[in-house]
């Protein structure tokens, strides 16, 4: 192992997940000596995004976890009065992994050009663990042929709702680089704490985003577009003028609830649902507000529902049509952006390097302090240790995490609700009784670099009850076609889809009256409808531990800080909050991620510097004077505005 790492640090951070990366950046930004390690060869830990090859390797690694090596030398690096605690790995264990293909390994030659498919094997649509598929060696015999095919395919996909490609496993694998599949897909609220932090710290320049284009909900057995902005509400045809007024009044009340406490009098202890019912909203509107805007359930307390509604509304109108942003190349980019800032300010990065043990003072349990870690058999001293909970020694946690997150990733051949343009969709799928936890569905397409043209990626996330597959089964069956397909051609009849547009002012307008009366589940779901569901080409289910509500402070040495893994929430808010808390415990009086200078502001030593305003909090440790700030902003802005179109 290359071993010229310095041995003294202010902060050692182990794990490159979201919280760890923010803390690392914040410490480095104020001039602290930071070492950032990850035992994996990739960034992000359980927050990572992978291309298709990467996720296959990740699955394999989950099945065959590397055994932490025994280091004989370890005891040698501890001094008298110190003890060694071995690092753990049990809080990042992935379970219930089920990977499955729904398409043939390779297309027969005649299928490449012909628009019919053999009616051969199906496996009954039963989703079962089929991990062995991954082990099959890729066969490149037909590679040359497919190359031609994929070129032709690109041209065909200009119309996003007309999937005409036949996919085989080999063909999909060949496009592996064009995938970015997220272990923990997360959206950003346009005015959420992460967006504000990215902008205020100037880390935003490392990342690009796309706006979520629509919010869908599942109502009366079908997908519906939720009017989420004022304009949407007024453009929607299937609510009457009276209803529109009711809705606007309600949303206004939620926005101003601090000033209008009377509005919610008597509902403080009651569910939000009861408040909504008291407003005599029609069932449709009530459904929109409760499940899609507040993203609540039938049992969510009133004031929480109000706060959630407010959060949604607050983020409207900043970027695009919905309150949400999605990171280009996937959620796994965001931790990397913070890591880059850390590196830019001098933080050292070493992937594929673990912390085998933590060296703590040998004393009263309540007053333990961490002195160092052991990494690669070497002692690395540090004043603070920030540790992903996955690496935490078991004794650092009072109780093992008991919750989990159920995840499903599906590569499909079309959108769950095709529209004129490629959509980026959020759908909170309500539980069957309306009171249980919803399933969060995020659908991303090629324009986010989630997948090659002609495909979509559907992410499903919910709290774990049984296994990921069982927890998500209902929603999978409602939204996706999971029969085995030997070519996907036979199901394709694109013309019928164009009636199902997602635009709120056109959606099902002719059906709207019908829905208000209690339409049955089967309405509009004659079999052409189910045929239009996206064909799943590949799926992956897994469970990962949910550690965000564990007590991560009870049993740790005073200068050790544990960071939880991905939570079930839609956004990154928890990680940002946790990172801020950890930073303020380490460096109480320091500013958290002050703005980094723009390139135009950087004047290097020895250069004649034009005097200009100097930013507070950006002192000598940055080794960069800052001036020309306004100019820098203008330039950035000029470029950005253009790029946003």
């Amino acid at each position: 192992m290359e071993d010229d790492l310095p041995s003294e640090y202010d902060v050692i951070v182990v794990g490159t997940g979201m919280t760890e990366s923010i803390v690392a950046a914040a410490a480095s930004r104020i001039g602290k000596r930071v070492l950032h390690l990850d035992s994996n060869e990739y960034y992000g830990g359980l927050w990572a995004s992978f291309n298709f090859e990467g996720i296959q390797k990740w699955i394999e690694d989950c099945h065959h976890p590397a055994n932490p090596q025994e280091e004989n030398v370890m005891s040698a690096v501890a001094n008298d009065g110190e003890m060694l605690i071995k690092a753990g790995n049990q809080f990042s264990t992935i379970s219930n992994i089920e990977e499955k293909w729904y398409i043939v390994e390779e297309l027969a030659d005649y299928q490449e050009g012909l628009l019919f498919s053999r009616n051969t094997q199906t496996d009954g649509g039963e989703i079962k663990g089929d991990v062995d598929n991954t082990k099959k060696e890729e066969d490149y015999e037909t590679e040359k042929h497919e190359e031609e095919e994929s070129e032709a395919g690109c041209g065909k996909d200009i119309v996003p709702h007309a999937p005409t490609q036949q996919w085989s496993q080999a063909k999909l694998k060949k496009e592996y680089r064009k995938f970015n599949l997220d272990l923990a897909p997360k959206l950003l609220f346009a005015r959420g704490s992460l967006v504000e932090l990215l902008i205020s710290s100037n880390i935003a320049r490392y990342a690009e985003f796309r706006s979520v284009t629509r919010v869908l909900t599942w109502l009366d057995g079908r997908l519906e577009s939720v009017p989420c902005s004022r304009a949407d509400v007024f453009a929607t045809r299937h609510v009457t003028v009276v209803e529109k007024r009711m809705l606007m009044k309600l949303l206004t009340a939620c926005m101003e609830y601090e000033n209008s406490s009377k509005e919610f009098e008597g509902f403080e202890d009651k569910p939000f649902l009861e408040y909504l019912k008291s407003k005599k909203l029609t069932p449709n509107l009530l459904h929109y507000v409760l499940y899609a805007i507040a993203m609540a359930t039938g049992t969510t307390p009133c004031m929480e529902g109000v706060a959630r509604t407010q959060k949604f509304l607050n983020s409207l109108g900043r970027y695009g049509n919905t309150p949400f942003l999605w990171p280009m190349y996937g959620s796994g980019e965001i931790p990397q952006c913070f890591c880059r800032l850390c590196a830019v300010f001098g933080g050292l990065y070493h992937l594929k390097r673990a912390a085998e043990a933590v060296i703590v003072s040998d004393g009263e349990d309540s007053n333990l302090t961490c002195h160092a870690i052991v990494s690669g058999g070497r002692r690395l001293n540090t004043s603070h240790l920030v540790l992903a909970v996955g690496y935490a020694p078991p004794q650092f946690l009072q109780t093992a995490p008991n919750g989990g997150v159920s995840r499903g990733i599906f590569i499909t051949d079309r959108s769950i609700l095709p529209a004129d343009k490629e959509s980026l969709t959020l759908l909170q799928f309500p539980s069957a009784d309306g009171c249980g936890e919803p399933v969060t569905v995020i659908e991303v397409g090629p324009s986010t670099n989630a997948c090659p043209p002609g495909m979509y990626v559907v992410h499903m996330t919910c709290k774990q009850k049984i296994t990921a597959r069982e927890d998500l089964q209902t929603v999978v069956q409602k939204l996706l076609h999971t029969e085995f397909s030997d070519g996907a051609m036979i199901r394709t009849n694109t013309d019928t889809q164009s009636t199902q547009t997602a635009s709120p002012n056109k959606t099902h307008s002719e059906d709207s009256e019908g829905q208000e009366g209690n339409e049955t589940e089967d309405k509009g779901k004659s079999d052409p409808g189910s045929d239009l569901k996206p064909q799943v080409l590949w799926s992956l289910f897994f469970n990962c531990p949910e550690t965000s509500d564990c007590d991560l402070t009870a049993n740790v040495p005073t200068n050790v800080f544990l960071c939880s893994g991905p939570d079930v929430d839609l956004d990154f808010e928890h990680a940002v909050k946790q990172a801020k808390e950890i930073f303020s415990k380490m460096y109480q009086d320091s500013e958290f991620l002050p703005r980094a200078p723009d390139p135009e502001e950087i004047v290097l030593e020895g250069e004649e510097s034009t005097p200009g305003p100097v930013f507070e909090g950006d002192s000598s440790e940055a080794k960069a004077d800052e001036n020309k700030s306004e100019l820098g902003d203008e330039e950035e802005k000029g470029a950005d505005d253009g790029g946003a179109e």
């Binding site: 290359e2 967006v195 902008i199 490392y206 990397q336 830019v344 980094a596 135009e600 802005k637 790029g643």
Partner: protein, 220 residues
């Protein structure tokens, strides 16, 4: 020694080329290469016209911009330095995202760095956009008496792999502007005018976008 060619390096970084000059293209350019081959020095020479013999790993400045004027087009490079993440082979994939150009740097006095440069080229071919323009720079050409990598060997390799190639010296400024200019010439100018290293796809987040609710909280 400085050979500006037809390039006019805009050293102040403060002047905006005015709109009447023609179109402005912005490109993300990433630097790659072993530690201490002179990546940062090349950029400093190009952007600031400076050279420091004992340049420390650049802190806080791993992101610079410089413009090159090319006929009727102004090419603005957004130059990304590795910020040291290459040292333990830990460069993040986000570094390559949307990069339209790359300079892979080696040190002509160190054969190992040439070997590593080849690895970086492979890495780019694996990770970066297929259309990326790659230039190979044999830096420290002022130390020709300690040369360990032959010019013809490197040029041959570059030709085989479709790379631009020059030997450069950040110290004497030899070929520094030229290599950026050569890249600028090779980059497609018609794609998008406001790339900002975004490959024209996603949006960057800026404070001013949309109606503001809270007062701007940057620069606090």
């Amino acid at each position: 020694m400085t050979n500006l060619g037809s390039a006019m390096a805009n050293r102040s970084g403060a002047q905006r080329p005015n709109g009447t000059q023609g179109k402005i293209c912005q490109f993300k350019l990433v630097l790659l290469g072993e530690s201490a081959v002179g990546k940062s020095s090349l950029v400093l020479r190009f952007v600031k016209g400076q050279f420091h013999e004992y340049q420390e790993s650049t802190i806080g400045a791993a992101f610079l911009t410089q413009t090159v004027c090319l006929d009727d087009t102004t090419v603005k490079f957004e130059i990304w330095d590795t910020a040291g993440q290459e040292r333990y082979h830990s460069l993040a994939p986000m570094y390559y995202r949307g990069a339209q150009a790359a300079i892979v740097v080696y040190d002509i006095t160190n054969q190992d760095t040439f070997g590593r440069a080849k690895t970086w080229v492979k890495e780019l071919q694996r990770q970066a956009s297929p259309n990326i323009v790659i230039a190979l720079a044999g830096n420290k050409a002022d130390l020709a008496n300690k040369r360990m990598v032959e010019y013809d060997e490197a040029r041959g390799y570059a030709e085989e792999n479709g790379l631009l190639f020059m030997e450069t010296s950040a110290k004497t400024a030899m070929n520094v502007n030229d290599i950026f200019l050569a890249i600028a010439k090779k980059l497609p100018k018609n794609e998008q005018v406001a790339g900002a290293g975004t490959s024209g796809q996603g949006r960057r987040l800026v404070e001013s976008e949309g109606q503001q609710k809270a007062p701007g909280n940057c620069c606090k």
